[in-house]
Symmetry: C2
Subunit: 326 residues, 2 copies
DNA sequence: CTGAAAGCGCTTACAG
DNA sequence: CTGAAAGCGCTTACAG
């Protein structure tokens, strides 16, 4: 398994290394006959360009990072596969590698170094802690970065999000059209944009809704529902701000003798796998995760190609998926 | 943001580039005072080695690939986050990147090229199609690769697996100790090692078990259970070969008026997130996914460092997690 | 233990 | 359009 180099291709094709390089990189103007000769040489030798050598001169790694929260927190977000899938879709045809980094001790600093030393061209940040200083440092350093989801504090950074407010409104309207009279919501954590927006969007439609707080975890869903039925026994419609919480909440309803959706209608948010593993299956607000991830990749790529291009935010519209729970 | 090179570090420290390089790479024997001078120069300049340049000469990418089935099939495997977490744990301290590749058109060829052109030092193959020729090609080419799970056909390849047979036996014993008389199993696909072994392990303990086939998907779990209660109405204990199938199967039992575990005990396999989102929560066979993934990474790293080292298989013992379903 | 020098494989001004 | 040449930033025999 000898390494074939450009040098060799050039010799076989009877051209200079420069010309060979040009056809490898699809440069515009190379004589047709030479181009063919080089192409033949490439396939006859089985040539593959050495990426390290190329990187060294182009100063591009052709790799981007996906920074994820750690395993524990990932559990609250069943979207990983969809995110990877969406990013992959846009990035692979370009030969760009997707490197995964799960948050652990020193991960973010690691990512910063990788960026600075040119090992990564940019990063996508998922579920970053609102207090995390990394996004700020990144944009300050002018490094390509995009956020999954709106940052807590306004900052000049590119992000992709779903219209959380509109999604919550969709849930509210569903509950109202079901003739629910006593409507409640189990919220997400109020120190995150998603948690805040879903509550605000819901209250805008149902100002007198009973509000019980959760934190997006399944466990918090059961606790919140237990609290809710104690506090408001005649509740007949509830918007649970994440499918995972809804998945925890529904059995509580059952155990209390209430049927879903007959006695209490339940609408979730996310359309994650938890929506399908619930019984009954969840009516929920869908975010187009894969498309959103693809867009994040596109935005990142643009920033890489055009440094210092202006920050933008791209917001996708959610949709209601009606199933059996409400 | 000027790039600091080794050259510069050397000049600041008043040594040659070679010496600077040696301390950067922790080479054994460099004079204490020179070492210190270089270290000072490194931190004062904020030096970070250019990985591409290093790669070019060391011929190592310091990156490994994780080849996954596509999103659809991932759905049947809720372990992605755990796998990534386990691999990351061993790979990050070494500065090795984890690049994710989801199967799509041309992915496997892509991975082969990346390996050949030195962009990846090795790959971990997850859930490869039994008919996939890639693993074979890889080992034939002498490229570092490890499989998640035993290959269907015996081949000289390193893999890490859980003892599927023993796991199924654990489930069988649980059902027997619960005094179940009419025992059944819903199997995984019989063209996969996991599907085969879980059935064989179970039958070894309960030879007269009723067997209904599934394919590890949730949907197949509901179909199989519907079939089962029709065919064997007095069933009182069932081993479902994946949590996801069990998650689909339990509501079928409920709808038929049977209580779990009082009328029918259910034991799953995987201890995946579906075990917790089931109602009641699933008693199941746990595989230590994160540890297994870490071991895959270690094995791969060893192959990279010691080419042509012999193929080994590492088998982890499963354990029974008793919860509410059986 | 240390340094001068060669070389890893590519791209890209620069001439022609 | 094409080629000779320089250079990307590092590591590593090879002498000393």
């Amino acid at each position: 398994m000898k390494r074939v180099t450009l040098e060799e291709v050039a010799r076989v094709a009877g051209v200079s290394r420069a010309t060979a390089s040009r056809v490898v990189n699809g440069a515009s103007s190379v004589d047709e006959s030479l181009r063919h000769a080089v192409q033949r040489a490439i396939s006859s030798t089985g040539y593959l360009p050495n990426i390290a050598a190329r990187s060294l001169v182009t100063r591009r790694a052709d790799a981007i990072g996906l920074l994820l929260p750690d395993e524990r927190r990932m559990d609250g977000d069943p979207h990983l596969a969809s995110v990877v899938s969406g990013v992959t879709r846009v990035v692979r045809p370009l030969g760009v590698h997707l490197v995964l980094m799960m948050t652990g001790p020193g991960t973010r600093e690691q990512a910063m170094s990788d960026l600075r030393c040119g090992r990564l061209d940019g990063v996508i940040l998922v579920h970053t802690d609102p207090a995390d200083p990394v996004p700020g440092q990144l944009i300050e350093a002018g490094l390509p970065v995009v956020l999954a989801g709106r940052p807590l504090e306004p900052m000049p950074i590119t992000y992709v999000d779903v219209n959380q407010t509109a999604g919550a409104a969709l849930a509210a309207c569903r509950l109202k059209s079901l003739q629910c009279n006593r409507i409640a919501t189990i919220t997400g954590p109020q120190d995150t944009p998603a948690g805040q927006d879903r509550l605000a969007g819901f209250l805008a439609e149902v100002p007198d809704a009973v509000v019980v707080h959760g934190d997006f975890t399944r466990q918090s869903g059961v606790a919140a529902m237990e609290h809710l039925i104690r506090r408001c026994p005649d509740v007949d419609g509830v918007f649970v701000a994440s499918d995972l919480m809804a998945n925890g909440a529904i059995p509580v309803l059952h155990r209390s003798g209430r049927k879903v959706p007959d006695d209490v209608a339940v609408v979730g948010f996310d359309d994650s796998s938890a929506a399908l593993t619930s019984e009954p299956e969840l009516t929920t607000v869908r975010q187009p995760i894969t498309d959103m991830a693809a867009e994040m990749a596109r935005q990142l790529l643009r920033q890489i190609t055009e440094p210092r291009s202006p920050a933008v935010s791209v917001v996708f519209e959610p949709s209601l998926v009606v199933r059996d729970s409400g």
